[in-house]
C-alpha cells in the first residue's frame, strides 16, 4: 500500500464512460468513438442534460457504455427521433450515433431532411465502409473494388454504384452548420477527431441554428479481413482516397 500512497493518478476512466465489458471485435473503432463522446460530455459538463440515440447496427448497445439517457430506434430513423426530442426539449443536448448502413442507406431521407430543416442536433456518423452486424455486406460507403459479403469480386461501380459521400451532400445544405470528416486511425487522427466531435457538441450547447455532423472513418478489421493494425493503415492509405479528411463546412 505504501507504493500506492506515493503514486499519483494521471489518467482515469471518464465518469460517463461505463465500466462494462466490450462486445465489440478486437480493433473495432466504436470503442474509441464511444470514449471520445463520453470524455466530451464530461468536459462540457452536459451529462445531466444529454440524450443519446443508438442506431441499428453494431452500436445498438451504445447505452451499455455511455452513462446518459439513451433510446434505441428503428434503422435509419435516428434524425427523425432526434427531431422529436429536440423540438420538444430545446434545453437538452441531443445526439445520434449512426453507422453507414443506418445513415447512408436506409436513413438517407431522415438525415438529409433533418439537416435541411436545420435541426439543432449533433450527429456522429461512423463510416466503416461495411455493414458490420449483419455479416459484412456492402454499404453505400463501400469503396470501389472492396470485397464484401455481397460484392465478392470487389465493388464494381457499373453493378453496385459508386461510394456515397453523404457528408459532402450534407455540407451543401444551409441547415448543416458544421460538417467534418476525421479518422480513427492512430493517436494524431484520433486527437483531431476528438476536437471535431467536441466542436459539434459545443455548437449545440451554444445554440447554433443547425445540424452539426462529424463523420468518423472507423476500422472494421473483422469484415475487412485484416489485422487491427492493417485496418488502421487501410483507412489512411485507401479509404481517405474516397473519403478525404477535413472540414467540409463551418
Amino acid at each position: 500500500m505504501t507504493e500506492i500512497q506515493n503514486m499519483k493518478t494521471v489518467f482515469k476512466r471518464t465518469p460517463t464512460f461505463k465500466d462494462y465489458p466490450t462486445h465489440y471485435c478486437p480493433g473495432c473503432g466504436h470503442g474509441i468513438a464511444h470514449r471520445l463522446i463520453a470524455e466530451i460530455i464530461d468536459e462540457l459538463g452536459i451529462h445531466g442534460r444529454t440524450i443519446g440515440i443508438a442506431p441499428v447496427g453494431c452500436a445498438v448497445l451504445a447505452y451499455n457504455y455511455l452513462d446518459v439517457d439513451m433510446v434505441e430506434v428503428a434503422h435509419g430513423r435516428a434524425p427523425a427521433v432526434a427531431t422529436g426530442m429536440k423540438r420538444t426539449n430545446p434545453d437538452k443536448i441531443i445526439f445520434s450515433y449512426q453507422g453507414d448502413g443506418d445513415l447512408a442507406a436506409i436513413g438517407t431521407a431522415e438525415i438529409i431532411h433533418a439537416a435541411h430543416r436545420a435541426e439543432q442536433i449533433t450527429v456522429i456518423f461512423i463510416n466503416n465502409a461495411v455493414f458490420g452486424m449483419t455479416g459484412g455486406q456492402m454499404a453505400p460507403t463501400t469503396v470501389l473494388k472492396q470485397v464484401t459479403a455481397t460484392t465478392q469480386h470487389g465493388r464494381d461501380e457499373h453493378l453496385e454504384g459508386y461510394p456515397l459521400q453523404v457528408s459532402e451532400l450534407l455540407a451543401i445544405l444551409p441547415g448543416a452548420v458544421y460538417v467534418e470528416r476525421c479518422a480513427l486511425c492512430g493517436p494524431a487522427q484520433i486527437s483531431k477527431a476528438k476536437k471535431a466531435v467536441k466542436h459539434a457538441f459545443e455548437l449545440q450547447v451554444d445554440g447554433a441554428r443547425g445540424l452539426s455532423l462529424v463523420e468518423l472513418l472507423s476500422p472494421c478489421p473483422t469484415y475487412w479481413r485484416m489485422s487491427p493494425v492493417k485496418a488502421m493503415e487501410w483507412i489512411e492509405k485507401e479509404m481517405t482516397k474516397t473519403f478525404p479528411l477535413g472540414k467540409l463546412k463551418g
Binding site: 445531466g48 439517457d69 427521433v81
Partner: protein, 368 residues
Amino acid sequence: MVDRVLMCGNEALAEAAVIAGCDAYFGYPITPQNEITAYMSQRMPQESRVFVQSESELAAINMVYGASATGKRAMTSSSSPGISLMQEGISYLAGAELPAVVVNVMRGGPGLGNIAPSQGDYFQATRGGGHGDYRTIVLAPSSVQELVDVMPLAFDLADQYRMTVVVLADGILGQMMEPVMFQKKPGRKLPPKDWALTGAQDREQNIVRSLWLGEGVLEELNYKLQAKYEKIQKNEVLCEQHEIEDVDSTGSPQAEIIVVAYGIVARIVRSAVDKAREEGIKVGWIRPITLWPFPSEQISKAADEFRIFLTVEMNLGQMVEDVKLAVAGKAPVLFYGRPGGGIPTVEEILDKIRQLTIPENKQKLKKV
C-alpha cells in the same frame, strides 16, 4: 355555458387534441385528413407547442417516438397509405412501451386506392398492424362530437398503458361539418413518467429500448405486454347498444335481428333500424366504440337468445370476423358491406334487414 361551433371532423379533433394537452404534432400531408395538419400548423405555435411537417410518414411516427420518449404527449395523423408506412414505428412504440396517439382518417384501398371514405383498415388497426405480437387500442367515433370526446381519452389511455391509441375515423367523419362543444374535463389519474428520457441528472440513466437479446428476456416482455392487454380487454371496452336487453309484453326479445356497425356506418345503420322498427321489424343495434378491445362479451351475451346478426361495414368483411368469434356459432352472422369508397345506403341496409324477416330465410338460417 359552452358555445357550440360548426367544424369539420378533422379540425375538431385537432382542437380537441390541443385542449387535451398534446405537446407536439408531427405529420405529412395526405387526403382526406389535410385539415388536421393545416390546423395544427397554425394552432400549435399559438400555444408555444411543437408542429413539424415531416418528410414522410416514417419520419412523422419516429418524431412522435422521440417526443414521447422524453415524456411529452405526441400525436400524428394520416390516412390509410400513410398509416401503412407508420407501422414500423408503431411496432417500435409497442416494443419500447411508449405512449402515442395516431389518427387514421381512412380512405379506400388497397394501394393508392382513392380518397373516398372506407373502413378497409380494420384488420390493420385491430391486429397491431406492424410486426410482432402486440396490440393498439382502437377508438372508433361516429360523429364529430364523439371525435372531440375521444381525443382526451386517447391521450389518457396512451399514457396510462404506455401504448399507441389509434383513433379510427374515415373520410366522411374527417370532412363532414357538425356542431360541436369543447369542454375541458378532468382526465384520468395517470402514473408518473419516471421512465422518460429527461437527462440522467442525479439519477441512474434511463434507457428506452425494444431489443432484448438475452435468452427468455423477450418472451418475458411479451408476457408482460399480454398481461397489460388483458387488463385493457377487461376494463376499457366501450360500446353502445339499443333494443338488445329489453323484452316485450310476451317476454320475447325486442330484437330478433341485431345490426353491428361502427363509425359513420353506425349512423347509417341507425336510420335503417329506425325505419325497420317503424315497419314493425324487431331489430336492434350494437355499436362498438372500442374496436380493440372488442365488445365480445356484449355481443356474446346478445347471442344467447337466438338472433340473427347482420354486420355492416365499408369494406368486404373485416369486423364481421370479430363478431363471429364473439357469437361463437350460437347464432347466424351475416354481412353486408361496400368497399373502395362505396357507402352503404339506408335503403340497402333496410332491404337486407327486411330479407331477414322472410320466414323461409329465417328457417334456412336456423338450420345453419
